[in-house]
Structure formats: structure tokens, C-alpha cells
């Protein structure tokens, strides 16, 4: 068992008993469900839209080399500089290099999950730079020195009282239970930062090949300010984010908004094609796009699970997942939580260390059903289980199945076995739920169903 797997088990047990946390998550997701179902119903044909979205992403990912080259060439022609990073370390070095060259001190960030993936904040802070997350939820978790709880709703696990205490402690503001006041505290802090920051770092939701533009979706306006005011704009994205055509966004933007937060369209959907051009009045002087592989090409090579690179990070699969709802986001210990995280993390960070995530599933298929780009999520969880056991079989599971096969091929052994089982079963009461109970994993929290007095075979022969 890996360290990650032990941590998962421990945290899952703890959080599933934490009624406060579960109630917060439950209330938040109920609101999401209600809003989403209204928005989805407003589509004239959601299923056809999903299928087309899946096909467009399939085309993009299966011709990634062509579209990625087109995107990079176009955006460079518009005056951006494209950088290529095979892994986290290279991406960090590229970004540090740009920041050092510009002699920048202060950095403002809008939400960038790829940044979490490469641990960008830790790296920049260690090098002595002042880095601030501008998205309200991200800012809150940054002040708490913890990871986002959900890649769309980063601070959904916190109640207003906890956030008020945090702001009082870190910013010296007066305690308040008023959510609007809390939001305005963050607004005031950020206003100064936008104006003084030397570098703005953003992510990107889509990279449009046709026009060489990146598309950023947000509600708060923090990404717009991050990409408008500092002299240098750096955008960090995974290589899989390409879309072939600009007009594809007419489908993807409302689907992302609907699946992500139950909105018809997110507050701001902005496209950036380069730095300030000659006749424009504002914008950054430099625009850098850092494209990150970080083992995405390994996932690409798995043609069975390749569709998971089409993920638009809407978070819908987390919101509907019974496991996520009960164990919470931090338990996963991953950048991307929930079903999509359980599918891709073993590819990005090692199958054997992260295979336990594939078992944290009820296989209900709610994730697959809700996914706006039709990623076959619950099947991929099964495939990860299969791949993990093929790569490194567990000895006792192998033995158990050998034994099962041996007995099942010999009817008399099966008959004797089931007779003995019926005789010794009452003795189970003596060890039930104790450490020597072979069924302990089950019996420590549940009753075993009683055995029937006779087997079906006996019943049938007596009947005739």
C-alpha cells in the first residue's frame, strides 16, 4: 500500500464522520444541482450538443500534433512567445526565467490548475517573490496554506465564520458574518495588487488553433484584471487544451457554464491573442504562453482512455459523485479531485501509487452520465483497476481466485464446502468484527446477512 493510499483511507474515514463539512458540501451541491437542471433543460437538445462536443474534442485530441502546431504558430505570429515544458520542473524554470529577466517582484495570479499541478506558488515563494491568488476561493485557500478543495469551487468546505477568522488573523480585519463584506475585504486587497503587480499569471480553458487565441472563463473579473494591468502576462496550460475552430466556443462556453456552475454563460469569457498591439491603448507588453506536457502524452498513448484528455474541467463529475460528496476534496490528495482526478492521476503520477483512487468508486456511472464531453469515466476506473492488477498482481488475490477456480470446477468440493460453511457459520458470532474475523472489513460497520437454512439445491430436490 502506498503512502497516498493510507492517507486517502485515513482522511476518508475522518471526513465522512465530519457532519459539519458534509453539510456544507451538501448544501453547496444542492444549489448547483437545482441551477444546473434548469440550465440544461433550456438547451433544445443537450444530448446532441454533448455528442458534438465529444466529437470536436476527439478530433482535437486525435490530431493534437496538427492543432497544437497551428495554435503555437498563430499565437507567435500575433506577438506572443510560446514556451514548451516536458515536465513540472521545466515549466517552473521557464516561468522563473521570465520573472527574473523582467526583474519582477510582485506577481498576481488568476486561477490556474496547471499551476497547482507544478506547485508554482511554493516555488515562487521559495525564491522570494510575492505571489497572490486573485480568485476569491483560491485566495482563501492560499491564506490557509492548503490545496483547493474542488477545482472549480476551491473553498467550498469553509463556512463564513472560518473565513472571517482567517481574514482577522491574516489581514487584521474586523470579524463579520456577512458574506458580501468578506468578499469586499478580498476586493480591496486585490485592487492594490493588480495595480502594483509586475507579472500576471493565468491559466487557459481553451487554446483555439484557428486564430491562435486562449480562452479564459471566470465569474469574478480577476482574470481579466490579471491579464490587463501587469506589464507581463504569462499563461500556463496543458498541451491538450486545443480546440480546432473559434466558432467551436459557441458550443463549449455555454456547456462549460451549464455543467460547471449551472449558469447560461459564465460572467466573463475572454480571449487573448497576444500582447498589446500597436494601435491598442492598454494590455501587457509581453505575452508568454507556457505549454506543459507533464505525462499528458502518456495518457494520450492509452487510446482506451484518450478521451479523458478532452476534459474541460467543469467539475460536474465531482459534483454528482457520491464518493466526492462523502470524502471531500482534500482526501484525494491530488490536483484534480473526483472521478476525473481518479482517472487521470494514475497516468500523471504513477499507477501503483494512485490505483486506490479507482477503487473509491461506487461505479454508479453518474460521472459518465453528467460529463458534457462524454468521457467514459466509470469504465476508465475499471480499466485502471485492471491495468494495475495486470502490471503488479496482488499475490493473495491471485491465490484466492486460484482456490475459487479449483473449488468451482469440482462440484463435490463445492457441496461439502457449503455444508461445512453452514455448520461453522454460527461460530462466526464469536469473532464477529474482531481482528481475527476474515469478514472484518464488512462486519465492523455492518451485519452479514444470515445464511438460509438450506441451499437452493436441497430445496429443489426436496420439492420434487
Amino acid at each position: 500500500m502506498s503512502v497516498a493510499s493510507d492517507q486517502f483511507k485515513g482522511d476518508a474515514t475522518r471526513v465522512s464522520k465530519d457532519e459539519m463539512q458534509r453539510a456544507l458540501i451538501h448544501r453547496g451541491l444542492k444549489k448547483y444541482e437545482a441551477a444546473r437542471s434548469i440550465r440544461q433543460a433550456a438547451f433544445q437538445d443537450w444530448e446532441a450538443a454533448r455528442q458534438t462536443a465529444a466529437e470536436i474534442k476527439w478530433d482535437a485530441v486525435n490530431h493534437l500534433d496538427d492543432y497544437l502546431a497551428e495554435f503555437a504558430d498563430k499565437i507567435e505570429a500575433n506577438g506572443a512567445k510560446v514556451h514548451w515544458a516536458s515536465n513540472s520542473q521545466q515549466a517552473r524554470e521557464i516561468i522563473l526565467g521570465i520573472i527574473r529577466e523582467k526583474k519582477a517582484r510582485s506577481i498576481i495570479k488568476s486561477k490556474v490548475m496547471t499551476g497547482e499541478e507544478i506547485h508554482l506558488n511554493e516555488c515562487l515563494e521559495k525564491e522570494g517573490f510575492d505571489v497572490v491568488e486573485s480568485d476569491l476561493g483560491e485566495y482563501i485557500v492560499q491564506l490557509r496554506e492548503e490545496a483547493p478543495y474542488h477545482f472549480v469551487f476551491p473553498a467550498m468546505h469553509l463556512a463564513r465564520g472560518e473565513i472571517s477568522e482567517l481574514f482577522t488573523k491574516e489581514l487584521g480585519t474586523a470579524p463579520t458574518e456577512n458574506v458580501e463584506e468578506l468578499t469586499m475585504i478580498a476586493r480591496r486587497v486585490m485592487r492594490e495588487k493588480y495595480l502594483s503587480a509586475d507579472v500576471g499569471i493565468s491559466g487557459g480553458n481553451f487554446a483555439v488553433a484557428e486564430t491562435g487565441m486562449i480562452s479564459i472563463t471566470e465569474n469574478e473579473g480577476n482574470a481579466r484584471l490579471t491579464c490587463a494591468l501587469p506589464k507581463v502576462h504569462i499563461s500556463l496550460m496543458g498541451i491538450e487544451k486545443v480546440l480546432p475552430k473559434m466558432r467551436d466556443l459557441a458550443l463549449f462556453l455555454p456547456m462549460l457554464a451549464t455543467a460547471g456552475a449551472g449558469q447560461a454563460l459564465t460572467g466573463y469569457n475572454s480571449f487573448y491573442g497576444g500582447p498589446k498591439s500597436g494601435d491598442e491603448c492598454d494590455g501587457p507588453e509581453e505575452f508568454h504562453v507556457v505549454l506543459l506536457d507533464n505525462r499528458r502524452t502518456e495518457l494520450l498513448a492509452d487510446s482506451e482512455q484518450r478521451d479523458s484528455l478532452g476534459c474541460i474541467r467543469c467539475g460536474a463529475c465531482l459534483n454528482v459523485c457520491p464518493i466526492y460528496r462523502n470524502v471531500g476534496g482534500h482526501t484525494y490528495g491530488t490536483t484534480y479531485q473526483g472521478p476525473i482526478g481518479s482517472v487521470i492521476t494514475p497516468h500523471l503520477r504513477g499507477l501503483q501509487d494512485w490505483k486506490h483512487l479507482s477503487n473509491a468508486s461506487s461505479l454508479c456511472g453518474a460521472c459518465t452520465q453528467t460529463c458534457p464531453v462524454k468521457i467514459n469515466l466509470h469504465e476508465h476506473l475499471l480499466q485502471n483497476r485492471r491495468n494495475a492488477s495486470e502490471e503488479k498482481p496482488v499475490w493473495w488475490e491471485k491465490m484466492a481466485f486460484k482456490g475459487f477456480e479449483f473449488v468451482m470446477n469440482r462440484p463435490f468440493l463445492y457441496r461439502i464446502g457449503s455444508k461445512i460453511a453452514r455448520l461453522v457459520f454460527p461460530l462466526h458470532e464469536l469473532v464477529k468484527a474482531s481482528p481475527i474475523d476474515p469478514a472484518r472489513e464488512w462486519t465492523k460497520t455492518r451485519e452479514l446477512p444470515p445464511l438460509a437454512g438450506q441451499s437452493f439445491r436441497e430445496y429443489w430436490s426436496k420439492r420434487s
Binding site: 453547496g28 500534433d65 514548451w84 466558432r247 491603448c281 494520450l300
Partner: protein, 227 residues
């Protein structure tokens, strides 16, 4: 070999295995699509918009209410001036850009005006009470305002001041998102402005307990004057 070449090498190697047809899970039947491009069908799947101008206006109005945007449909330039006179009661300073529609509005404002054309100081703009801009289009389907750095005075004017006022003519109201993208292509391709944005309502957040708060970082108020 450069990093770019190495990444492309890995991509091409990975793509040598063909992937299964998208979306077909457990042999379920797929909805009937698609020719070479799905684009012509997208309007048939997105939320419905009426055909007439009256229906589009009605939908834009309905969406504005849901989004808590302040949409004012007016009949004449006199009405626009009257609205601005009412709105500007508490203003001390105004930011805008040169455009026939913004000129029309700002000519009657007797306050210091920061104009973004030719560059400006961001700290000064931050002091302004309002940013007044034109736009490329309004979109009935989503209640959105389409702006670009060319049409709306740059990147900051529509997001930095606490109140954003958009001035638009009725004939700028489009029905849906696909027609907005068609407009962008027709108006700008292949030289797009470096910044394009669909603004849908005032700045908002739900990051604390999923409770809606307006004015998270951008404007608390979005007013759309349309005549």
C-alpha cells in the same frame, strides 16, 4: 532536439494507436450527427431564441433580470441623456473612449473625463466612478455584451471602474452565440484584436458558501443603455 520537437515526437508516437469512436458507451445509440462540420447545427441545440426583434429584446430583458444587470431599453437620444443625467448624480470622474455612441453620451457630462485612446494611467482609471464603453454586440440568448479591445476602449475600461455602462443601438442585438462568433469573424478575421470578451452580467462570485455576491473584482453594476 528542442523541447518542442520532443513533445511533438511523443505526441505522434502516442497517436499511432487509433482511439475508439467518441461518445459510444455500452453500445448506446448515438444522436444523429454530423456532416463534416457540426457548426451549422449548433444553433438548433443551444437554448431557444425567438425570430423577431421583439422576442430577442424580451429575452435579453429577461436574462438581464436573472443576471442582475441593469438593462434600459430607450426610444430616443433624449431619453439616453435623461438616463445619464440621473445616473451621473453621484459621479466625480468618468472613464470612456472615443466612439460615436460614447461621444454622444459624454458630451453632456460636465465632469473630468479620462479617455483611454492613446493610453492612460491605470491608477487614475481606478479612481473613476464609472467606465462608459461601446460594444460589438448584445446577445439575446445569454444576456451578454460582446466587447473587444478595439470596440470598447481596451482591456480595463469595462472591468476596472466599479460601474460599467454599455451604450448600444437596437440593431446591435444578435440572437445567439453562433451569430456572435460569425460577427467576430466577419468584422475582424484574420486580424483579431488582442482581447475579446463576452461580458455576462456584473462581476460575481459564489466562492463563500455558494452565496452570490456582486462586484467580486470587476464592476458591481452593469448598466446597458440600448436605443
Amino acid at each position: 532536439m528542442s523541447e518542442r520537437e520532443q513533445i511533438f515526437g511523443r505526441i505522434r508516437e502516442a497517436l499511432r494507436n487509433p482511439a475508439p469512436v467518441p461518445g459510444a458507451h455500452h453500445g448506446e445509440s448515438l444522436p444523429p450527427v454530423t456532416e463534416a462540420s457540426a457548426a451549422p447545427h449548433i444553433p438548433e441545440w443551444l437554448p431557444l431564441v425567438g425570430d423577431s426583434e421583439a422576442e430577442r429584446l424580451e429575452l435579453f430583458k429577461k436574462n438581464s433580470i436573472e443576471l442582475k444587470a441593469d438593462f434600459r431599453l430607450l426610444d430616443s437620444e433624449e431619453e439616453v441623456h435623461a438616463q445619464i443625467a440621473e445616473l451621473s448624480a453621484d459621479w466625480k470622474r468618468v472613464a470612456t473612449h472615443r466612439n460615436p455612441l460614447t461621444d454622444l453620451v459624454c458630451d453632456r457630462i460636465d465632469l473630468p473625463i479620462l479617455c483611454t485612446d492613446g493610453g492612460y494611467d491605470a491608477a487614475e482609471m481606478e479612481e473613476c466612478d464609472v467606465g462608459i464603453s461601446a460594444c460589438d454586440a448584445l446577445i439575446a440568448q445569454t444576456g451578454s455584451v460582446l466587447v473587444t479591445s478595439t470596440s470598447a476602449g481596451g482591456r480595463s475600461l469595462s472591468v476596472l471602474p466599479p460601474h460599467h455602462i454599455v451604450v448600444a443601438r437596437r440593431d446591435q442585438l444578435l440572437s445567439d452565440l453562433p451569430s456572435a462568433f460569425a460577427l467576430l469573424e466577419e468584422r475582424y478575421a484574420p486580424d483579431y484584436p488582442s482581447f475579446i470578451s463576452f461580458i455576462t452580467g456584473p462581476s460575481r462570485t459564489g466562492d463563500i458558501e455558494r452565496i452570490l455576491v456582486l462586484g467580486a473584482h470587476g464592476p458591481k453594476v452593469l448598466t446597458i443603455l440600448c436605443w
